[in-house]
Structure formats: structure tokens, C-alpha cells
């Protein structure tokens, strides 16, 4: 029986850099998925690309490729990734440069394009597409000018096309994480569009592994049961032609794969469990059956799906001002009271300087006194120390910068026992806000472009 082994070596932008190499070298694997795009990443890439037309993709991915390309090439392990960001062509050229550096030839790299809608937004809006904000219902027309990125989430189809053209590496921009597992399953097992149950199964396989070790013992409630978390194995699915699959990890790694670790990940970032919508299919999570088949092996089967929707999700973003937060450590008797006094001093000194923030855009949290779960955990009576975390948000950069100057003076002009201010003044950061919307899928699908080139 044919088994397709698919791993995920990078659950998010900033994940452990050694993990994908360990996953590649730790045993059998046919496909390796790598996720580099957080919501905010695309807008960072947009700024990089404006400064330098050859930038705009995930540079970390090139470091990974440099470390493993000969091995990928020799073992024919195929890598599927969204590392292409806003500039997958430039990313491909960089991979070709690495191949030349390493003296490799015959490296085929696919590029999927068509997710970037920013240049097309005005024309699409002019033709009547409203891009209503899914949270507020507001149409995008009045805000077109300020949009700094707009990308549609693509599904498995263009990735499969690149695999058909024998790409060793497939570079996408915005593509769903689940498509990176579904595409190889459809490609290898010959699953056809419209086979909703199998497409849902492949999608759920992708959902289980998309956050890397979150299904192999990471972030698990009963952490005390998880062995060797330091060496946690990143996940693998073994996908069968009938749509069933086994979640596992390489032998000799830490962590664990149990019905419980997999169930927690199934519910992660879940909305209505009967209706998990992706570009490829609508999956029903209430159909999933889990079975512990052996140590670190969970069999998943019984999955049902329904037809895909006529829309694709679009994530647009825009600059929504600036924010910053800073921390001060406050120690000794009456620490909570002293921390609150520090915050009050900051607001009043800013007011004296004529710098006033909307109260809704000011935040004061006393860490170690129940800041994460207020109203749930009773605050400790008199903790030996707390951390004051104080922050602001405002459209005006100068105001946010001015706020950052009010923390350090508290060491000498606040209550006693204030320390831990070594990192310099908190600097304003850009706030990138999202505009989630839906778009008729043919508007995107008619513009997809898949190219596979060889170096």
C-alpha cells in the first residue's frame, strides 16, 4: 500500500531553525512543508521590497536551503513553502545561486503566483467587488489608498501543478498551510477535485501538522507527561490512498503523539467544527475518528467533507498607527502598589507635557499579579516583585516616541525598588491592521501562474 510521508518543519515565522533539518535527517520523509508567513510578515516584506526590488521573501528559507539542498536533491525530498512571500521569483533566483555555489545541477524550482492582489485592487473594486471587511461589514472602497498589501489564500491546485512539472521545491506566497499537506496527497494518490471526503482528510492532516510540534507534545496541557520536550520531534503524517492517515514523529526524538496531543491541536484556532472552510473543501471536524495505533502513532480516519465555497479569503493590511510597550521591574514591600504608582506617574507627566492618549489605547498590566487571566486567578497578596508592563497606541509617531521617554526616569524619580530598565527606551512599532474579506474565486484562479525552472 502506498504511503506518503509529509512533515512540517516550520510552524510559523520565527520557529526553531534546527527542527526542519532534524526532521529531514531523522528518517523517511517524502515531503517537507515550511511555513514562514505570519499575518504581519507580508506587510514587512512589502516594505523590504519597496526598498530593494530583489527582496520580499523569507531569507531564513535560503539559509535552510543552503544547509540541506544536496540532500534534498539526492534523496528527492520535496519542499513546499510559502517562503516566496511577495517575491517568489527572486527567492527562486537566490536558490539557483545557492545551487551553483554548491555545484549542483538539475534542481527544479516551482513558483506559484497570483495571490498578490494589491496591484489589481482598484480594478477589482471598479468592477463591483466590495471586499467587505468580514469583521465590520464595511466595503473597502473608501480605504483603497491606505492598503499596503492584499493577498488571496490559495489552495492545493497550483502547488499540485508545480509537482506535476517535477519541482523539487515549490515556492508560494499566500497559500493555506493545509494545502501544503493536501497537495502532495492529491498528487501522489491521484485524488481528484470533487472527492470531498478525501480532500477534507488531506486538509485535516495539514491542520494537525501546520503548527509543527503542537501535535507532538508542545503546548500540551499535561506537560509533565511529555518526555524530552527539549528535543521534541516535529510531526509527520503517513497518508494512505483512502484518506486515512497516521500522525507520528521520528524515532529517538522527544515529545509524544497521543490521541490527546492530536485532539488538542485539532481544536486549535477552530471556529464552527462542522464547517472548516479552505479554498479546497469544507471539512467537518465532527467526523474525525482518532485511535492510538501504537506508541507515538495516532490513526485518523472517518473524515467527511463538503463542497468548497465559491469564494477565496483575502487578507489585506494597512498601517494603523504606532504602538509601543515597556516594562519595569518593581521589587520589595507593597510592590503592586508601587507599580501602579509608577503607571500613574507616567500618565501624569505625559499630560503635563501635553501628550494625551485615548484611554482605550493605553494599557497597564501588572505581571505576576494575574495580568494574563484577570478575574480568574486571585491575585497574590503581596508578591515579592512584579513587572509593570505599560503601553500606548496612537496614529502619531511622535506621541508614541515621547511616551517611551517616560519609563527610565522612574528609576530615580519614582517609588523605591524599581529596576530592570536596561533595554533602552521602548521604540514605536508600526501597527499593521488587517482587512479580511472574500472574493469570488474565479477572479483569482483565472490569474494563477505556475512556472517550474531548472538550474
Amino acid at each position: 500500500m502506498k504511503i506518503v510521508r509529509i512533515g512540517n518543519g516550520q510552524g510559523f515565522w520565527g520557529d526553531n531553525v534546527d527542527a526542519p533539518i532534524a526532521l529531514l535527517r531523522g528518517g523517511d520523509i517524502d515531503y517537507l512543508g515550511m511555513d514562514y508567513l505570519a499575518e504581519v510578515t507580508i506587510s514587512i516584506m512589502m516594505r523590504q521590497k519597496l526598498r530593494d526590488p530583489s527582496a520580499g521573501y523569507a531569507r531564513d528559507f535560503i539559509d535552510f536551503i543552503r544547509a540541506v539542498l544536496p540532500e534534498l536533491h539526492q534523496r528527492r525530498v520535496r519542499v513546499l513553502t510559502n517562503a516566496g512571500g511577495l517575491n517568489p521569483q527572486a527567492c527562486r533566483q537566490q536558490i539557483f545561486a545557492v545551487a551553483r555555489e554548491l555545484g549542483l545541477s538539475g534542481v527544479r524550482v516551482g513558483v506559484v503566483e497570483g495571490d498578490d492582489l494589491l496591484p489589481r485592487l482598484p480594478e477589482l473594486v471598479a468592477r463591483g467587488h466590495r471586499f467587505e471587511n468580514m469583521d465590520t461589514g464595511e466595503p473597502i472602497a473608501a480605504h483603497l489608498e491606505k492598503m499596503s498589501s492584499a493577498n488571496a489564500y490559495l489552495g492545493a491546485e497550483p502547488v499540485i501543478e508545480a509537482l506535476r512539472q517535477d519541482a523539487l521545491i515549490v515556492l508560494c506566497g499566500r497559500v493555506t498551510d493545509t494545502a501544503l499537506a493536501l497537495a502532495p496527497l492529491m498528487h501522489e494518490h491521484g485524488w481528484q477535485p470533487g472527492d470531498w471526503d478525501r480532500l477534507a482528510a488531506g486538509t485535516i492532516a495539514g491542520h494537525v501538522i501546520e503548527c509543527g510540534p503542537q501535535c507532538t507534545g508542545g503546548n500540551f496541557t499535561r506537560f509533565w507527561e511529555v518526555p524530552d520536550l527539549w528535543n521534541v520531534g516535529y510531526p509527520l503524517v503517513e497518508g494512505y490512498a483512502d484518506g486515512s492517515f497516521v500522525v507520528t514523529k521520528h524515532p529517538g526524538t522527544g515529545g509524544m503523539v497521543t490521541v490527546d496531543t492530536v485532539a488538542e491541536q485539532l481544536l486549535y484556532e477552530m471556529g464552527d467544527p462542522t464547517t472548516y472552510v479552505t479554498p479546497d473543501v469544507t471539512a467537518d471536524f465532527t467526523s474525525i475518528q482518532l485511535e492510538q495505533e501504537g506508541p507515538d502513532r495516532v490513526r485518523v480516519h472517518g473524515i467527511r467533507g463538503r463542497p468548497k465555497t465559491p469564494y477565496l479569503k483575502v487578507s489585506a493590511s494597512y498601517l494603523a498607527g504606532y504602538k509601543t510597550t515597556g516594562t519595569l521591574t518593581v521589587s520589595g514591600p507593597r510592590a503592586v502598589e508601587k507599580a501602579r504608582l509608577c503607571a500613574d506617574v507616567v500618565w501624569r507627566r505625559l499630560e503635563r507635557a501635553g501628550v494625551i492618549f485615548d484611554p482605550a489605547h493605553r494599557e497597564v498590566e501588572i505581571l505576576a499579579a494575574g495580568a494574563c487571566l484577570p478575574g480568574i486567578l486571585p491575585p497574590p497578596e503581596d508578591p515579592p516583585e512584579v513587572v509593570l508592563r505599560i503601553g500606548v497606541r496612537d496614529p502619531d509617531y511622535a506621541k508614541v516616541e515621547r511616551f517611551g521617554k517616560e519609563l527610565a526616569p522612574l528609576v530615580t524619580s519614582g517609588p523605591p525598588g524599581v529596576t530592570g530598565f536596561a533595554g533602552g527606551r521602548p521604540k514605536p512599532q508600526r501597527v499593521v491592521a488587517y482587512w479580511p474579506a472574500l472574493l469570488a474565486r474565479e477572479e483569482v484562479e483565472d490569474h494563477l501562474r505556475v512556472t517550474v525552472e531548472e538550474a
Partner: protein, 114 residues
Amino acid sequence: MKVRKVPLWRIAHARSGDKGDASNVGLIADHPRFYEVLLRQVTAERVKAHFHAICRGEVERYEVPNLHALNFILHDALGGGGTESLKIDAQGKTHGQGLLLMEIEVPEELLDDD
């Protein structure tokens, strides 16, 4: 029937994440025999009351019987969500742990089998 008051973490496990300005908390019974207890006692209203200082919107509950689990959506719970939020837990990562602190009443005989 004798019952004992215990925190949810004695009979269930959980994971939470974000969806815009809402968080989701998946709550899973440690054993299928506890699912009835979760269904009856961990209602959307109780969860809303439990997170009264965090969740400013409504709480939705979905049943996932095949995993003997419930999924809660806590609307307006992340201070604006994602990059806009100033909160330390802008992604609701701790909300699962928070739900596990809720006290529920469990029949003694269910606990005794544990």
C-alpha cells in the same frame, strides 16, 4: 449521588488560540465518561461569567462529540487582537489554562474510576 467540586483540569485538557479579536478554547474530556459533565456544566453562560474580566463580547459553544470535546469562541477578548492589541496575551494563548481553573461538580464514582 455524591459529587465533588474539582477544577476542570482534573477531568479535561484544553488549548486556546486566536481568531482576530476573538479567542477560541478547545476543551477535551480526559475520558469519554466525563463528556456528559462538560456538556451539562460548562455552558456558554458559565464560560462568559468565568471570563467576565477578559471577554467583553458573547461566548459561543460548539459540541465536538467525536472528540468528547467542546469548542468555545470568546468574542471581543483580545484587546483588538493580533498586532493592534497592547495586551501581553494578545493571542489568547493562556485562555485554555484559564478555563481549566473553572470549578465543576463531578459525581464521586466517576472520579473514583480515575
